[in-house]
Amino acid sequence: MTSIITRRRFNFGAGAAAATLPLIGGASAQAPLGVGFIYVGPVGDHGWTWTHDQGRKALEKEFGAKIKTSFIENVAEGPDAQRAIRQLAQAGNRIIFTTSFGFMNPTIQVAKQFPKIHFEHATGYQRAENVATYNARFYEGRAVIGTIAGHMSKSGQAGYIASFPIPEVVMGINAFTLAARKVNPNFKTKVIWASTWYDPAKEADAAKALIDQGADMITQHTDSAAALQAAEQRGVFAFGQASDMSSFAPKAHLSAIVDDWSGYYVSRVKAAMDGTWKSGDVWGGIKDGFVKIAPYNTAVTPAARAAADDVMKGIVAGTLHPFTGELKDLKGEVRVKAGEKASDEVLSKMDWYVDGVQA
């Protein structure tokens, strides 16, 4: 269900002041640096957009009066985004973060018109002189929670509520399943495509349907905590997504993959301040602090805990890659050869499922 209405809340503040800077000349040196954000959802989603806004707040804490942040939330992906991004650019921001895949083309377009402004696009692959991209290796977190699921599941079946079959999501499903099957070779992951990033009631109903069909571990790649609440109600376990969601499901919530953008945002804004900003592509994982694992629930058994910690340590040390061959797709075709690790290119184009996935 998509609402036909998108809401705009433009957080003024920086805009007007910064735009008049050039007139004053000398004063501009002390003027705060404008930092703009474009969000795809509401900051109140307690998920994806919320974590980016936590990053914005971390910037304010770090730099205080030296910067002025502003954001526009609920920006629809597509042509409309171009207008929102331009609005932030014209308001005098020096660095602008566009935080959803669908903002890729609009960001590139606007960046052409504002060569002096630094643009940062999350999860995309198109770059330019003044457009950098960044993303997080969420699949590393999926491997950790998959390990826990493999240990803790009695039925050997997990339910996975997914949004859209894009590589990002497919990667997560595969990483989770591979890790769980290392523990329990018969482990199965049943996937429901919700065809939305955000519809709490539908996410909850999907979780219930999966539990009805025998899943006793629920995880999701959608944005609300509704699936966890359904798991709590039915007495099965679940994992949080994007942020620690234990307050919604104190018993069911075994752990969560937590996105943390603040380190990256601070380093990039610092670079913009110092004039050392350069375009590039950063894909950070657990090691870089982009992806964190929320504290384990007391229900997590010592064996599961130890195994999950080992996976995490292995990933940080670089000795363990969640996608190590031999990996075959469901048709039996070899996608990653024995002993090899999947390259970033293979990962970013992933459109096949590993054994054990029912999608």
Binding site: S3, I5, K190, W193, T196, Y198, P200, A201, Q213, Q229
Partner: protein
């Protein structure tokens, strides 16, 4: 095992249908009085956030439900004043009401993000409400039974009572109703308030029963389904009940089919089935009668000013 799944499907289906049924039933009465209020989604969201805020602050879901009705009425009154007293365009005002509702609910709800409450529980004692089979009938919460009673009540009101007849007269021919002395504007105020209360209640069903939390745009477009449902039901409460449960069934079965690994049927087909059904019903209705009026109240959406 299979009966357990069936019972579970029924439980999910009923829960998914109830908020749509409530909102649509309220809108049906509004439209029967000749007013088109497209702000259902906005009123639902205001009800959802108010219900959650009160339930969270007081610890009482009952008070939350009452507050949700109140918030729905308050939002609806904004619409009523603009369209009835100031004769603003109903379509534009209704759409604006939805946008307003999205914004104001987000503003009020900002402090409640990440909180949760105890969900609305079943009415009947555990012996019935947790019985493996009987819970399909007795395992629901108060709002579910209330919604069914309201369908019956509204149906009887519209067809069997003098007041219902007057309400319909106002919707069918406001000038005549006015000429014989009925207070058209006051009656429409009443209908809009009723619609607001039920939309608020429907919205609160999300934040208090389905997903006991507040998150922006929690109802995710169900208000639009409710609007479509009124047309689908040809403004008849009985058919509205059928339609709401049909929508709920399709939404639930779509997910169950996916979970069961049924891949030969594209889930997208199931997802669009309710809307296809609406189009089909509308087509059949307009073929059936040459007027093309589809049983809509004759004064639907037309402003009225007593002159």
């Amino acid at each position: 095992m299979t009966t357990a799944i069936l019972v579970s499907i029924v439980m999910t289906l009923v829960a998914a249908s109830t908020p749509i049924l409530l909102a649509a039933l309220g809108e049906l009465v509004v439209e029967k009085s000749g007013v088109l209020n497209l702000g259902v989604e906005g009123m639902m969201l205001c009800g959802a956030v108010a219900g959650f805020a009160v339930a969270f602050s007081t610890g009482s879901t009952g008070l939350g439900l009452v507050a949700a009705c109140g918030a729905g009425i308050a939002t609806a009154m904004v619409f009523a004043v603009l369209t009835l007293s100031l004769t603003a365009n109903q379509v534009a005002t209704g759409l604006a009401l939805t946008i307003f509702g999205v914004g104001v609910s987000s503003l009020i709800g900002a402090g409640f993000v990440g909180r949760t409450i105890t969900r609305l529980g079943p009415v009947f004692p555990a012996a019935l409400s947790e019985h493996p089979l009987l819970r399909a009938v007795f395992g629901h919460d108060i709002v579910v039974y209330l919604s069914l009673a309201l369908v019956l009540g509204v149906s009887l009101f519209l067809r069997r009572t003098r007041a219902g007849l007057i309400l319909r007269a106002v919707g069918e021919n406001d000038a005549s109703a006015h000429a014989i002395g009925y207070p058209v504007i006051a009656i429409r105020y009443g209908a809009i308030a009723f619609g607001g209360a039920l939309a608020g209640l429907g919205g609160a069903y999300f934040s208090l029963a389905l997903t006991p939390m507040w998150a922006d745009r929690l109802t995710a477009g169900r208000g639009w389904i409710a609007l479509a449902l009124v047309v689908f039901a040809a403004w008849k409460p009985g058919r509205l009940l059928l339609g709401a449960y049909l929508f709920g069934a399709v939404m639930t079965l779509e997910l169950q089919a996916k979970a069961a690994g049924i891949t030969w049927l594209a889930p997208e087909l199931l997802a669009m089935a309710p809307y296809l059904a609406t189009v089909a019903v509308l087509t059949m209705m307009s073929i059936g009668r040459k007027t093309g009026r589809l049983d809509a109240p004759a004064c639907l959406g037309k402003p009225f000013s007593a002159s």
